[in-house]
């Protein structure tokens, strides 16, 4: 398969393009998710459509850089309009997003149908921006993506600490007289740039997933901002690569959707299984803790019962204990568990008693629990 990967020009191009797209959108997604701009990303990617149509109408060219510039301007304009609407009317953010998203998309459709029905030459393939058509990528497109994406990454690295502060505490940033408004514009512009890079591969409809999923997954694995960005980038890259190879080696699996499904799969897996934050681990930890608490309760009950006798190691029959736990079927299991830890023992009459170790443990527990 490696041979196939290296040998096939289309596959190599597509895989490289998807990997670069995954990496760049992975980095940006950290900021998008932490700044809660996920749905803005969706709006921007839909709003980019008329830009593509207009860029083609004006220049007559399908060069990816020109279409990207058109898409970028439209996406950016969409963002600006969302801000304008929320700032100067009582229409709320979510309505403004939905409105800009769908109206821009509608204008885009009008332009695309207009172009299709016109007699302009060289127009085929513009609608591949709707769902993306990774197979149509050529080396030149990948090069454009690399340069534009690389520039975006350089900007992020240069203003790393400012962007981080912007995401965490913009008011404090403003009190340090940082130009928060410009940083905000810059960060949003980078978001637009990254979305535009992905349009040809993944398409306007699914691009939003690429700028949410990697970071949503990465957040589960780390509590460190830089590490989160790195993991997010790696997840984006791996899913891009994996998705495009899967798409190329299986028939009828379009690249964009399969990449999206891959990254979402990683998110689900991360939410479930990531150490510390994974909910499966939490469940297991909880079960273990409950079990430990139950066993400790049995141990302390033995200790309490023995208090009425001269020695804390006084043995009691299981039936006596069962009076305390009439419903618990696991009493014997608890006792056997304690026995295997050497905290209790069973004498020849079948009665249970604390061992010297068990007594020590009880004293410890009582001390721990008294504040």
């Amino acid at each position: 398969m490696i041979e196939q990967l290296l040998g096939d020009y289309t596959l190599r191009t597509v895989t490289l393009g998807a990997a670069i797209l995954g990496a760049v959108s992975g980095v940006l997604s950290t900021f998008v998710v932490l700044r809660q701009q996920s749905l803005l990303g969706d709006a921007v990617s839909h709003a980019a459509l008329p830009g593509i149509g207009l860029a083609f109408l004006i220049t007559g060219s399908k060069a990816s850089l020109i279409l990207m510039i058109g898409a970028g301007i439209a996406g950016w304009l969409g963002t600006a309009l969302v801000l304008l609407i929320t700032h100067s009317s009582r229409v709320k953010y979510d309505s403004a997003l939905g409105l800009v998203l769908s109206v821009f998309f509608g204008i885009g459709l009008v332009l695309l149908t207009f172009i299709q029905k016109s007699s302009l030459p060289n127009q085929a393939g513009l609608d591949s921006f709707l769902f993306g058509q990774a197979a149509s990528l050529v080396m030149e497109d990948v090069l454009t993506m690399t340069v534009v994406g690389g520039l975006a990454l350089v900007v992020i690295l240069l203003f790393w600490k400012e962007f981080k502060l912007l995401a965490f505490d913009p008011d404090f940033a403003r009190s340090l007289v940082l130009p928060v408004r410009w940083l905000d514009v810059g960060c949003t512009t980078l978001l637009v740039v990254v979305i535009v890079i992905g349009l040809q591969t993944v398409g306007v409809v699914l691009m939003s997933a690429m700028i949410i999923a990697p970071a949503a997954a990465a957040r589960q694995w780390t509590d460190h901002f830089g590490m989160m960005t790195l993991i997010s980038m790696i997840i984006g890259m791996l899913c891009g690569t994996g998705g495009s190879i899967l798409s190329a080696t299986t028939s009828n699996l379009p690249t964009g959707p399969i990449i999206v499904v891959c990254t979402s799969g990683v998110v689900v897996m991360s939410i479930l299984a990531a150490p510390h934050r994974g909910i499966l681990w939490n469940k297991i930890r909880q079960i273990l803790q409950n079990r430990r608490l139950r066993a400790e309760a049995v141990l302390l009950d033995l200790f309490d019962l023995a208090k009425q006798h001269e020695t804390p190691e006084y043995p009691h029959m299981e039936e006596v204990l069962r009076v305390i736990y009439p419903q618990s079927g696991s009493l014997l299991r608890q006792l056997q568990g304690l026995q295997s830890k050497g905290l209790v023992m069973r004498n020849e009459h079948g009665a249970w008693a604390l061992t010297p170790d068990g007594v020590i443990r009880c004293h410890q527990l009582i001390k721990e629990r008294t504040p």
Binding site: L158, W160, F168, D169, F172, S175, R219
Partner: protein, 245 residues
């Protein structure tokens, strides 16, 4: 005692509604001042406007005799604890380092020098042991101490703090007040938005009673009277005086 904060005829409006009317405020050096008033009185707005976060409709603000943006490095700010997302993936030390971003300037990253400064600030709030903890694992009081350390590391002349005692445990409250008093004794000016009327007299030197407009301001012993409080809170408040022995 020189004037450190000077606010003249400050009016702030949100859309068309005034939120602060014609405020005058003077704070001298080495003063620990509480801003007190009911909810919606504009306490936070006043601080934010002085710090240039909100654009005023009219009036003048001078800090150390200069407009804010010229002396920003001499001003420390502790925002309300609830104003940030504490699930943000970052460590205690990282948050404190953010206080140095203003002095660091563009592009430069914090280095070992800055780390040392940050640790020293954490030492002052007794949080060194937590420096590598993720911030979501902190209690409310610990979060507040981290914010305080971030302001301390700014090595400012003037500090503005928005409800630093809101929802913290008693130990933290005392630790914070001790720290504020140390700052005051070393000649710094500290302005604190405060909500607990019972503690105003024991914690602060001066008080600024605010309800959209200035009701009264000056030394606590002169200004913090029942009559003024009634004016501030519209007669719906009774302060329980501790029995004088």
């Amino acid at each position: 005692m020189s004037t450190v904060i000077e606010v003249r005829d400050l009016t702030v409006a949100y859309r068309e509604n005034p939120v602060l009317w014609d405020i005058d405020l003077d704070v001298g050096s080495g003063t620990l001042m509480a801003i007190v008033g009911p909810n919606g009185a504009g306490k936070t707005t006043l601080i934010k406007t002085i710090l240039g976060l909100i654009k005023p409709a009219a009036g003048q603000i001078r800090i150390l005799g200069q407009p804010y943006h010229k002396v920003a490095t001499s001003v420390g700010y502790v925002p309300q604890r609830g104003s940030v997302d504490w699930d943000f993936p970052t460590s205690v030390l990282d948050v404190v380092l953010m206080g140095l971003y203003g002095r660091l300037g563009w592009i430069r990253r914090p280095g070992s020098m800055q780390r040392k400064e940050a640790l020293a600030a954490l030492e002052k709030v007794d949080m060194v042991d937590y420096s590598h903890q993720q911030i979501s694992q902190l209690s409310g009081g610990q979060q507040q101490r981290v914010f305080l350390a971030r302001a301390l590391v700014q090595k400012a002349q003037v500090y503005f703090m928005d409800e630093p005692l809101q929802g913290v445990d008693a130990t933290t409250e005392h630790a914070i007040i001790d720290l504020l008093q140390v700052l005051r004794s070393s000649g710094k000016t500290v302005v604190v938005v405060h909500h607990d009327l019972q503690t105003v007299s024991s914690y602060f030197d001066e008080v600024f009673l605010l309800n959209i407009r200035r009701i009264s301001s000056g030394p606590v012993s002169e200004v913090f009277t029942d009559q003024n409080l009634k004016l501030t809170y519209g007669g719906r408040v009774a302060i329980i005086k501790e029995p004088t022995s």
